[in-house]
Amino acid sequence: MSEARDFRVVGTRPIRPDGVDKVTGRANFGADFSLPGMLYAQVLRSPHAHARIVSIDTKKAAKMPGVFAVVTGADFPRVGSEEITGGEGAGDYRDLATNIMARDKALYHGHAVAAVAAVSPAVAADALAAIKVKYKVLTPVMDLDAAMADDATLIDETLFTAGLPEKPAKPSNVAAVMEMKRGDVEKGFAQADVVVEGTYRTPTVHQGYIEPHACVATINQGGQATVWCCTQGHFDVRSASAKVLGMNVSDIRVIPSEIGGGFGGKTTIYGEPVAILLSKKSGRPIKLVMTRDEVFRASGPASATKCVVKIGAKRDGTITAMSAWLGYEAGAFKGSSMAPGAMCIFAPYNVPNFLIRGHDVLVNKPKVAAYRAPGAPQSMYACESLLDELARKLDIDPIDLRMKNAVEEGCQAAYGPKFNAIGFKQCLEAAKRHPNYTKALGPGEGRGVAAGFWFNAGMQSSAEIHINEDGTVTVIEGNPDIGGSRASMALMAAEELGVPYERVRVQVADTESAGYTNVTGGSRVTFATGMAVIHAARDIIAQCKQRAAATWGVDAEMVDWQDGKVIPKPGVNAELKPLTLADIAKGSPRTGGPLLGRASLNARGAGAGFSVNMAHVKVDTETGKVDVLGFTAIQDAGKAIHPSYVEGQMQGGAVQGLGWALNEEYVYNADGVMQNAGFLDYRMPVASDMPMIDTQIIEVANPTHPYGVRGVGEVPIVAPLAAAANAVRDATGVRIHDLPLSPPRVLEALDAARS
């Protein structure tokens, strides 16, 4: 349970333990590792979005000087259908294997069909050019409407819609449907004084991590493999690679490098099994690094969506009913973020009647991967935009409208459980009071408000704490540090053990050196792994008390832990001097050996995260360009362990969400070929596009964490989409339903409104 307490170091802003290596270029990222004798791998990718693979001829390539191995789908074992659990996205191991290397069909432009290993990248590229693949080109299915049409070309002829009461008669591109409801939605709409409805679309977007996927793999003649790679979860790389290659988990060791961004996109695998197989065939270590083009075309972007939302309310703003039809593109294999999108869409509101229908739909695009609060930004963009329209129709302040319907502790969430302590109303109050909310607007300017929500995850974590012989502390954990989590772990260990922060060092250890730990994702690390670190520290404290008591010859109940020392309880023996962690460490050979604290847990009760965002924009009515003049992010963090990195999550998520809102999209041609697979044309926000991002951290303690922590990493990206769209609506008087609000789209809407 969370304790009301004064913190000594938690809540301060020390320099992260891995910082110096990252500002000096010493830190090793995915592509920075090399081994003697290493070969370079490259992947041949389908030039068609949808095609049957008739034949692959690799003979010429395999004979080229400097080429050591060639693999195709035929070299991989057949993998049976089995649901992937523990990651952040939905999926099936059979599909994962087929995504890594195509077998019978190429299902998107860029789908891997073969790979080579050669002495240099140049030789590997020549070898790829020598591989002859015969395709029978099929019609590409490139969006939801086309995929769901009655006469749609089928991407998988064996796919029958799941989630229906009975198995349908015919196969379909709709992989699954789901329905969630409460009350009687028709009755609810009948009770409403005002009903609003809208259809909103969001495009395929990419997480845009700056570091491409990269790995080095080697396997010996005994079948034992070692993989160095950039990943959000090396234990998942291990389990997924073992499934895809039919290996034992214990025969794969995965060593995580530093990771150059992921945002959910590095919770799955692409090159690792390919590199292992090439190593097996060649007998040499293999390096496989994606190009940026490959990252766009062949890693996992986020679902494009279509959301039809309807809201009914009384004149005073009380919502009587909400309904949503949600379509989420899964890419070439089932398993979009439709379910979390459906679960989040109405989560902030206490509504008596709702109906949500979700659809997981195949298209000939790369299989989607998790992207920061997967599914929530899209559905909540639709709902929060429509709420803005409702507020206008009712002439109610948009924050007041949300406040009137906001969930609080004890409310039954739309997705099931009862909320414990949550901070949504506190965020709304803070937004209403914030000076930016009433700041005067100039000509052409507008302000938009929106709320964000994400469940946050708990899941499995392990931690070990070693007390070194000089009393310094080493924390061993298994979550790649993607945004400063080593600092948070060190702060929590230092807090618990009563030692200075600088005496604690944190190691992110490999799969053979740390206890099993789920991915760095789901905003779970500071919450769940932090909890494991706190528990491991408490294990150390218990041992210290025992050892001190034994040293003093008193019962363990007669001693206390206070400020990093064991002290005798009052009245025990005033002569006994307190023993510090360093004293006990020094004496440990005499008291039972090294001090080693451990914890492993499956953390429950990740506190739900809420945010309220305000965007301040200016729209150039001549060009359609939207400039963000100000942005305010308010979010409940439960307890901010290192406030700078909490603010960093809020600011980074805001700008990523603004990119999604204003500019980012996959542009496809009629053949299903992405036209903008580079950072020049897939236009992510740059420094000169953005203002400073104001933040306000709200702290409503999460009662299930010892320090009150709730996850903060994902919520920040949820609200900016609608906040920006509502601001553009405010500035122009025109509601544009489809993202991104790029200059051509805004200009078109303004021209239509003007004519």
């Binding site: 990252k22 150059g260 290192h642 600011q651 740059v686 420094a687 953005m690």
Partner: protein, 158 residues
Amino acid sequence: MSRIHVDTTINGVATEFLCEPQQSLLEVLREELKLTGTKEGCATGDCGACSVTVDGRLVCSCLVLGAEAQGRKIGTVEGIADGDKLHPIQQKFLEHAALQCGICTPGLMVATKALLDANPDPTEEEIRYYLAGNLCRCTGYDKIIRAVQDAAQTMRGA
């Protein structure tokens, strides 16, 4: 294909290497010289993770051929610190938590130093435009800009 012999200076140290004619300076730094502090994010000059200086001028090393380093002075992230002392830019990035994953940080070190060498007292707008070629997907730029402002102030006072 015969390899090209190149004499150059990297971070003040006379250096020679052999490279393929088509190899970029980025590839040479990382693969031949094992200076992996310089990162590849795109290899098309759009992300700035591979920023280095050539005779003091800020460039994307993925757009420069290794052979072009002949007779030039190359500056990389490995040369920013002064021995065992961090450069004020490095120190301020750490203090302001201006990095999250850290992959763009080496490029930003080099680009920021080039900016402040040329303009010791830039406005916020000047910083934002100068660093517009260095993509950061984690921070939203806020803390980066503040770190650069603070570093500039420190360097002016030094």
